[in-house]
């Protein structure tokens, strides 16, 4: 009896999980599908699910109209740069919070997280002023800096959680063995935390890649990444759903592929520490 119940439950949960998965995936599926339709088919009523004349025309037009590679390159630089810089800043910060905590450590961690609750638009004005002042508008370095800063709390939090799992005695052993702070972090802590650091890098790269508020507001033509590339197709000149979809597909493809190949690492990273 017990067995029958548990099988039925299993089926129910599996069906539920598939349903949720499909609901989440549907917009992406629809975007990719639409990118292969003509503009007329894209707004057809009833919607066309599979049987239509597949065309690559939209991709050709998008390719012709805008310089995809330049946007892609900007995205790579901005997401990669902000991630790298973030890790460099966050590793020592997380080290000190995990291994030499003070009374204020918990508060600082919470305070850092609380900055994530602030709506970005709330600081648009001051940040814009700073950008103008320092000549950072529409520069990649400006974007790298601002994305690093907004994602820093998450990086520090994640690294802090991983570092907490590393026994302090091993770091003390390194100190006894003659390692200074730099050697301790470089040769002992970092290699031991590689799985955690890798998933932090990955998640942060994805977050930075998808970031669309600051990248749209602080760039014009020069430093615009793929988010701006997509946005340029939702123009007031008229709705071109098929072309917009083609642009979106091209913009999300790299990160989708990256995510697909690293999902194991990502899941491990996000549940690390939660399950022993």
């Amino acid at each position: 009896m017990a067995r029958a119940v548990s099988t039925r439950r299993k089926i129910a949960f599996t069906a539920l999980a598939w349903a949720i998965g499909l609901i989440i995936f549907f917009p992406i599926y629809w975007t990719i599908l639409t990118s292969f339709k003509t503009e007329a088919q894209a707004i057809n009523d009833p919607p066309l699910f599979f049987f239509f004349d597949w065309t690559l025309e939209n991709y050709a037009v998008v390719q012709e109209r805008s310089d995809y590679m330049r946007f892609l390159w900007n995205s790579v630089i901005v997401a990669g740069g902000s991630t790298l810089l973030g890790i460099l800043v966050a590793v020592p910060a997380a080290w000190s919070m995990a291994f030499v905590p003070s009374k204020a450590t918990k508060d600082i961690l919470l305070w850092m997280l609380s900055t994530k609750m602030l709506p970005a638009v709330g600081v648009l004005y001051p940040i814009s002023l700073l950008f103008i002042q320092f000549g950072l508008l529409d520069t990649r370095i400006g974007l790298v800096l601002v994305l690093m800063l907004i994602n820093l709390p998450i990086i520090v939090w994640m690294l802090y959680t991983y570092f907490k799992e590393i026994p302090g005695e091993i770091l003390e052993a390194a100190r006894m063995d003659g390692a200074g702070l730099r050697e301790e972090i470089l040769f002992v802590l970092t290699p031991m935390a590689i799985p955690g650091i890798a998933s932090t890098v990955l998640l942060n790269f994805i977050l930075a890649w998808n970031e669309a508020f600051w990248t749209l507001n602080l760039t014009a033509a020069g430093a615009a990444p793929l988010t701006a590339f997509i946005a340029s197709y939702s123009s007031p000149e008229g709705l071109f759903f098929a072309k917009l979809s083609a642009a979106s597909t091209m913009a999300i493809a790299p990160i989708l592929i990256l995510g697909w190949f690293s999902q194991k690492q990502l899941v491990r990273g996000l549940t690390f520490g939660a399950v022993k």
Binding site: E169, I170, R175, M176, G180, M192
Partner: protein, 334 residues
């Protein structure tokens, strides 16, 4: 070189004093054991010497130089941790070579010293394994190997054997003693196990609640414990402490008699009682003897083949020469 002097060293965590100001001198080449019950501050004291904790007051001198504010990396001491604290991402070879790499020794010299340490510790066949692929005893050897390669001024051991099973523990105890007699380097060893302390030490430091109760050789502590705490802590099984009439008669507040300093007989003796639990070790038998009107049973050592059973009458006679006398404060009366 390996002379360490603690001068009025004290340590507090917040308002809690874990080490009260204490003086201690550890001489070149000595094997010193810090022993005491858990929470007595022995590990903290070792960590203060290592530099892993900062002192709240006082000074630490290593080889005559003030080391109080010197970081652990620069004190020239090596430490073996209870958890071994090996670097899990490095092979045994890299683990042992790590201190040499930090000291920027050239590669050939590093290899030479690692090979030498490995052969001393029977690790040659395991040099290319990771710590995860080793047994507890092998891991402990790697930790010791990592400590000996750099030829430190002193070795610090923080309960290094407590994660090993009993049989291995005895073996490693001998190996460490052997190592000490070969290297003749100062060793400071922390343990809560008085048997380890007695068997390994040149000098034992007994600690309780952050205070040094007594410093001396194992036999000094055994023969002339300064107070009741040391008397009870050194020796196994524990010394019997007797208060009341019997103590008063001998001019003391309390007297102490070790189980091995009483004779047991089934026919005659000074104190009469009944056999309670008996522990047969083969070579010896320990009887727990209940005496009428005495609050605590006494423990007595008898031969291995003594035939006495639960409930039998037993007579005990202490060796008057070896009775320890204590005053009301618990201090030894000479």
């Amino acid at each position: 070189m390996g002379n360490i002097v603690l001068d009025k060293v004290e340590k507090a965590f917040g308002n809690v004093k874990v080490i009260h100001p204490l003086d201690l001198e550890i001489n070149e080449g000595e094997f010193v054991v810090f022993v005491g019950p858990s929470g007595c501050g022995k590990s903290t004291l070792l960590r203060l010497i290592a530099g892993l904790e900062d002192v709240t007051g006082g000074a630490i001198r290593i080889n005559g130089q003030d080391a109080t504010d010197v970081p652990p990396a620069k004190r020239g001491l090596a430490m073996v941790f209870q958890s071994y604290a090996l670097y899990p991402h490095m092979t045994v070879r890299k683990n042992i070579a790590f201190p040499l790499r930090m000291a920027k020794l050239d590669k050939a010299e590093q290899d030479r010293r690692v090979e030498q340490a490995a052969s001393v510790l029977n690790l040659t066949d395991y040099l290319d394994r990771r710590p995860a692929a080793l047994s507890g005893g092998q891991r402990q050897r790697v930790a010791i190997g990592r400590a000996i390669v750099r030829e430190p001024a002193a070795f610090l051991f923080d309960e290094p054997l407590s994660n090993l099973d009993a049989a291995l523990r005895v073996g490693m105890r001998l190996e460490i003693s052997e190592l000490h007699s070969r290297l003749k380097t100062t060793m400071i060893y922390v343990t809560h196990d008085q048997v380890e302390a007695m068997t390994m030490a040149d000098k034992i430091v007994v600690l309780q609640a952050g205070v040094i109760e007594q410093v001396g050789s194992p036999l000094e502590l055994y023969r002339e414990p300064r107070n009741r705490f040391v008397a009870g802590f050194i020796g196994s099984p524990k010394m019997n402490i007797i208060e009341g009439e019997e103590a008063k008669r001998r001019g003391a507040h309390a007297i102490g008699v070790r189980p091995e300093h009483m004779s047991a007989s089934s026919t005659e003796g000074l104190w009469e009682g009944r056999v309670g639990v008996s522990e047969h070790l083969g070579s010896d038998t320990f009887f727990h003897v209940h005496l009428d009107g005495w609050p605590e049973p006494l423990t007595v050592r008898a031969g291995g083949e003594v035939a006495m059973h639960h409930g039998d009458a037993i007579f005990l006679t202490p060796d008057e020469e070896r009775i320890h006398k204590f005053d009301a404060e618990g201090l030894r009366i000479a």
